[in-house]
């Protein structure tokens, strides 16, 4: 298992390399640049800016400069300055040597912040939102799917699947405002906008203070974001469980005289969850990276908004950084799923 994980982490770097190259190429292939404004800047200034950010160099050189800054750790005997160029996602000290790693560079659009600042302040909110949406999706989806399968073709089945169809067919952009209108404006149960946590974060993404206000803010957005995913989980769980209960080993269990309840809990559920677990990895990544609409509707200062704005602004470092981080998420989420998978299914061994 240990060797498998190491192999996968090496693979992660290969993925990041490919993703960064493609993103870099596409980004520069799109017409327009970061300093094209409606009111054109004087050519002199643009030239200076481009020089300052090395945009006047050949593309290949720019690419390797960027990749080098992100992936190659820098060491120093003295403390790094608080200069924007000297920022990095990871800064620490080994013995008397200062190390920094993953310098995503300064943002072109918000001139006073680095990409790492944005990651530190906005990304944790999107991760929290995505994680909670995933939990909502699992907590709603799995029980619905299980009930639907166990009571196949009964009113429970139809009701569960109606909820699921509702979930996939109503987009956040409608569901969100409706929820705000009902639960925030009319009933006043939850605040309409905002998010209840502030940096710094534990482990880079967990809120340090969990107060009442945090929970109040964290009810509606995860539900709005997670409902569609819960519908997917519900349908998959149902299909998978219906498949499993027709397997020979379920008949064997019944022939041994097991109670129906035991047949379901001990023999059917674990098997039926295997395919469901498989989609949780990509689903988590999709939820974390797909928060734009939810964040806009609920006025949450997360990463989604920055990402979309960075693309219209041609804010190259933010685009690159965000996509690389999202790729890391996807690979790590899938790795976690694979490990879970091996735990659930003894036939799978990774060595």
């Amino acid at each position: 298992m240990g060797r498998y994980i190491v192999r996968r982490l090496i693979y992660l770097f290969a993925v990041l390399f490919v993703v960064s190259a493609i993103t870099f190429g596409l980004m520069h292939a799109v017409p327009g640049g970061p300093f094209d404004k409606e009111k054109a800047l004087p050519a002199e200034i643009v030239k200076n800016l481009e020089k300052r950010y090395h945009l006047d160099e050949p593309l290949v050189q720019q690419y390797f400069r960027y990749v080098g800054h992100v992936f190659i750790p820098e060491f120093s005997k003295t403390k790094f300055s608080s200069n924007l160029d000297d920022d990095a996602l990871f800064k620490f000290k080994i013995g008397s040597v200062y190390v920094k790693w993953m310098n995503f560079g300064p943002s072109y659009a918000s001139r006073s912040r680095t990409v790492n600042d944005i990651f530190r302040q906005q990304l944790p909110i999107s991760i929290q939102l995505g994680l909670m949406a995933l939990i909502v999706a699992i907590l709603i989806g799995m029980p619905l799917g299980i009930i639907a399968a166990l009571k196949q073709n009964t009113v429970f089945d139809y009701m569960s699947m109606s909820v699921a169809i509702f979930g996939v067919s109503v987009p956040v952009i409608i569901l969100g405002p409706v929820m705000i209108w009902i639960f925030a404006v009319s009933l006043k149960w939850f605040p309409a906008t905002g998010w209840g946590s502030k940096p710094p974060y534990l482990l880079g993404f967990l809120p340090q203070k969990l107060g009442w206000s945090y929970f109040q803010h964290a009810v509606m957005p995860p539900i709005a974001l997670g409902l569609a995913s819960s519908a997917i989980i519900a349908r998959l769980t149902r299909a998978s469980l219906l498949q499993v209960v027709r397997e020979d080993y379920i008949r064997t269990a019944r022939a041994k005289g097991l109670q129906e309840r035991l047949i379901t809990t001990r023999h059917a559920l674990k098997n039926s969850l295997i395919p469901v677990i498989t989609i949780l990895g990509p689903m988590f990544a999709a939820l974390v990276t797909g928060t734009f609409v939810t964040e806009t509707v609920f006025g949450i200062p997360g990463m989604g908004k920055y990402f979309v704005i960075s693309i219209t602004n041609r804010d190259y470092p933010v685009i690159m950084g965000t996509i690389l981080l999202y790729a890391i998420f996807l690979v790590i989420a899938n790795l976690v799923v694979d490990i879970l998978y091996a735990y659930l299914d003894p036939r799978i061994r990774y060595d």
Partner: protein, 329 residues
């Protein structure tokens, strides 16, 4: 010997998209204490459905036992409550299935699965049930049984898995073991070992066995009596020696004539008889074998023959005496 199980007029149907499938059409048979009853017949003739019906393991819908009784210890299995039949399954009547690959739960250990019947039927603690499971595995010839309890099914070979399956079925010392083609998925040498194992366990534990197979060769060395099935009917019943020496139904004669045959791969082939197996979409008012029968006379097309007495403890569902070619009276 006393009758342990008496089945009468058992009839099971499946409602399918194409129409009603008459899988078992009113069969009757009995099973005596400690004996081995063989059920033979080609694929699709209703062997599995008839025994699954007894334990009420037919998937419902689409299947349904529409008529019949199956009396076991003075009670009708088919009329029992769900809870009563559950307490019979695995404790008093056990089953071994055909495919040892798919019949085990892949995500539970062998120990969990073999010990399970003791825990649910006899209230054993986990530890005691595991000890007993290890004994049982040793008894069916699994080496290092105690360690292997923690292994998963995929870590066993096909033959070993079938041994484990037998251990699991016998762990509560049932009175009846139903083996539904337990050797079909195994290769020939392993088949023989499983048959030997079943015989030895029967001597030691004394249960009655219903052994279902395609293969008349296996039945010869194992069964006391044989029921031959065709198209959802039992068409011949006889003690095993009598059946081999003096088959009375043309279908049985055909089956025996095509034995023993071993093909290139060394597997014993299914006996083959010209013509197609019967369609089960309707109950025929003629003999279901008549379309493939070289002895068929007019009577065979007018009336489906019931089982007729043709010898001592020997019945056959055929209007014609195949020895003479004339009709029986």
């Amino acid at each position: 010997m006393a009758d342990l199980l008496t089945v009468q007029d058992l009839e099971t149907r499946f409602r399918t998209r194409e129409g009603m499938v008459h899988a078992v059409n009113g069969i009757s048979f009995d099973l005596k204490e400690g004996e081995t009853l063989g059920i033979v017949g080609e694929s699709g003739c209703g062997k599995s459905v008839s025994v699954l019906s007894l334990l009420r393991l037919i998937p419902t819908p689409p299947g349904k036992v529409v008529a019949g009784t199956a009396s076991y210890q003075g009670k009708d299995l088919l009329q029992m409550t769900d809870e009563e039949i559950r307490q019979v399954r695995g404790a008093q009547i056990s089953m071994v299935f055909q495919d040892p690959m798919t019949s085990f739960n892949p995500v539970l250990t062998i120990g969990q699965q073999v010990a399970e019947p003791l825990e649910i039927h006899q209230g054993y603690s986990r530890a005691m049930a595991y000890d007993r499971a290890a004994e049982m595995l040793t008894m069916v010839g699994i080496p290092r049984a105690k360690e292997r309890l923690n292994d998963y099914p995929h870590q066993f070979s096909g033959g070993m898995r079938q041994r484990v399956m037998i251990a699991m079925a016998l762990i509560c010392t049932p009175q009846i073991l139903i083996a539904d083609e337990p050797t079909t998925a195994l290769d020939v040498t392993i088949q023989a070992q499983i048959v030997e194992l079943a015989k030895r366990l029967q001597d030691e534990l004394g249960m009655a066995i219903i052994w279902i197979t395609h293969d008349l060769g296996i039945i010869a060395g194992l069964a006391d009596r044989v029921n031959v099935m065709y198209g959802g009917y039992i068409i011949e019943k006889a003690p095993v020696k009598e059946l081999y020496a003096n088959p009375q139904h043309p279908y049985t004669i055909g089956l025996l004539a095509s034995l023993p045959r071993v093909d290139e791969s060394g597997r014993r082939r299914l006996a083959s008889i010209d013509g197609l197996p019967p369609v089960l979409m309707e109950k025929p008012n003629y003999c279901p074998f008549a379309p493939r029968c070289s002895f068929a006379v007019e009577h065979c097309w007018k009336e489906n023959p019931p089982l007729l007495q043709v010898g001592d403890r020997h019945t056959a569902a055929c209007w014609v005496n195949p020895k003479t070619g004339g009709e029986r009276v």
